[in-house]
């Protein structure tokens, strides 16, 4: 028990330290804590029943909790938390590496927001999406607009990562982005990120991100990233979006990725490609894609898409297909799609089919079905046809309390017959006089 507690503390201590520091820094500067604070949040509890390939019955229970406390002493201070706890009700290993329990702090921070200039300071475990950065950091994130359409953001702290290399010593990550925008025409950003592991540079990346609307119905967006550690461009990824022209819209993708530079900063051996392995570490790929959407009427829409992967070393591949959807907001959603992955060899080819529908009945009951079928060109474990069928029923017991259960039946290369059951309870809560309706994303 003591060991479990010690492990848990080790896992959360970074965030606890950050939150403690944040509180110590900010609270003294606050006026007296008022009683107007409001709390809104959601609790989602899941119990999953499934069997492993060696016939072990797993019954993990997950409790996902997220909440935000607004007006914490002043209207500009708030606290945000999201995380989950889990344990296996059958006392089996549901959480990898023989673990019977699991937990994660997804984010947890104090936020100070100014009324003007979109200025915000977040302290704690923060999620940072700024140019080249898509990180979790135990530390600080701050941004503000400056005059003349300029904006600046900075972040720094300890990187929150999984996998290897789990190097000893201090890990530090920091970065910044400076941007300029003309609200109707363009936004451009220059960003920088550096990550050190035990005094050695692990990642150093620079980037340009762009959104450009030269005229009505024409948009270009994308980014280029440079690896300053390996001294090479990691990727250029841009999209051209045209439309709508009457009922038609066009999305064109053009991307280029250099594997040697792109995957250098991975912490998982999955991405450490070896010469002679299935993926050449010096591979480069051009990806060209086109997607055309056609809005048939208020409810029906159709799309076709085609993507070409053009490699320097490996053979080329393409992915293409079509989709039809029917939507009647808050009442009915349905769709059907068919796609083909056409790789260089039979081993890299499959056809993918999907049909789904979701219908609201009697105002409180939502029934959903989802059929998913993949036909592999080359058999895996003597199986070419892998399919799954799931049925879900969700019932709104009260305005903020929803119960749901789904069953999924599947046949695939690993299971002749697999049945999974998932039960869930979702509860939205609020406390305090100033509580407002929770935002989307319960």
């Amino acid at each position: 028990m003591k060991t479990t507690g010690a492990k848990l503390w080790k896992k959360v201590r970074g965030s606890a330290v950050c939150l403690g520091t944040a509180a110590a820094l900010l609270l003294p500067s606050m006026p007296s804590i008022a009683v107007a604070a409001s709390l809104t949040g959601n609790s989602n509890t899941y119990v999953l029943s499934r069997q492993t390939a060696d016939d072990t019955n797993l019954l993990p229970l997950y409790e996902y909790l997220d909440f935000a406390v607004q007006d914490l002493g002043t209207e500009s201070l708030s606290a945000h938390f999201g995380g989950w706890l889990g344990f296996d009700l059958n006392n089996n290993s549901s959480f990898g590496n023989g673990e019977k329990t699991g937990n994660d702090l997804q984010y947890g921070y104090l936020s100070y927001r100014a009324k003007a200039n979109n200025a915000v300071v977040n302290l704690g475990r923060v999620m940072v999406f700024e140019g080249v950065a898509a990180e979790r950091v135990d530390g600080i994130y701050a941004r503000t607009d400056i005059k003349g359409g300029f904006g600046i953001s900075v972040f720094g702290g300890a990187p929150v990562e999984t996998g290897n290399p789990d190097l000893p010593g201090n890990n530090v990550i920091y970065g910044a982005r400076i941007s300029h925008q003309n609200a109707g025409t363009y936004a451009i950003g220059l960003s920088y990120l550096k990550e050190d592991k035990d005094s050695n540079t692990f990642r150093e990346e620079e980037g340009v991100d762009l959104w450009f609307k030269p005229m009505n119905k024409v948009e270009v967006m994308g980014r280029s990233s440079y690896n300053a550690e390996t001294k090479g461009w990691m990727e250029h990824s841009y999209y051209l979006i045209l439309g709508p022209f009457d009922k038609l819209r066009f999305n064109t993708e053009a991307s280029w990725i250099n594997y040697a530079d792109y995957f250098q900063g991975a912490t998982s051996s999955v991405f450490q490609f070896q010469p002679g392995g299935p993926i050449d570490p010096n591979e480069k790929v051009n990806i060209l894609g086109e997607e055309v959407f056609y809005t048939i009427n208020n409810n029906w829409a159709a799309s076709v898409d085609y993507k070409i992967y053009d490699y320097t070393i490996a053979g080329n591949a393409s992915y293409y297909g079509a989709k039809v959807t029917y939507s009647k907001p808050k009442v009915y959603n349905a769709g059907a799609s068919v796609h083909r992955m056409d790789g260089e060899t039979d081993r890299l080819k499959y056809d993918e089919y999907r049909v789904y529908a979701s219908m609201k009945m009697m105002e409180k009951l939502v029934l959903s079905i989802d059929l998913f079928d993949v036909k592999y060109k080359e058999a895996i474990n003597n199986v070419t046809n892998a399919y799954s069928a799931s049925v879900d029923a969700s019932y709104e017991l009260m305005e903020r309390l929803k119960l749901g259960v789904d069953v999924e039946y599947s046949k695939n290369p690993d299971f002749d017959k697999e049945v999974r059951l998932l039960a869930k309870v979702s509860y939205g809560f609020e406390l305090g006089g100033g509580a407002t309706k929770p935002k989307e994303g319960k």
């Binding site: 007006d71 945000h80 898509a134 609307k213 967006m221």
Partner: protein, 148 residues
Amino acid sequence: MRTQTIRFAALLLIPVLAAAFLLSSVAAAAEMKHPVEVEAPAICSQCHEDWRASLDHTPEFGKLRHKFQAYQNKQACGICHVESFCSDCHAHKEFLKPSDKFKDEPQRDLPHRGDYINQHKIDGKINPASCMRCHGRQNNERCQACHR
């Protein structure tokens, strides 16, 4: 190294404290919230003509465009979405697939439906960069079970 880290943290804290001081001198902010309720899917261009129009949640928004909006304007996402909306998919450690959590919303473009454990062997070879974005430095502990 520890001294270096402390020095770095102190340097970083100076501008943050300065910003906090400056911010405390301006009027308090209300929670950032869209002034009128928006029904999903949000078609922002119905009211806006500037950059906000590009936030239209058209069918390809989730799969294709939302990442660029997040890199440039994450605070705009926060007008309608809470942080957990991001972490439902962009996880640090996760054992439930997003498509399993939201079986009651099959219309959402959520990844890894069906037998993805076998399908990923093909997708991962064709375009490993698409895996890297979510599993490169986070949520990759389960990968290690096979990829040692």
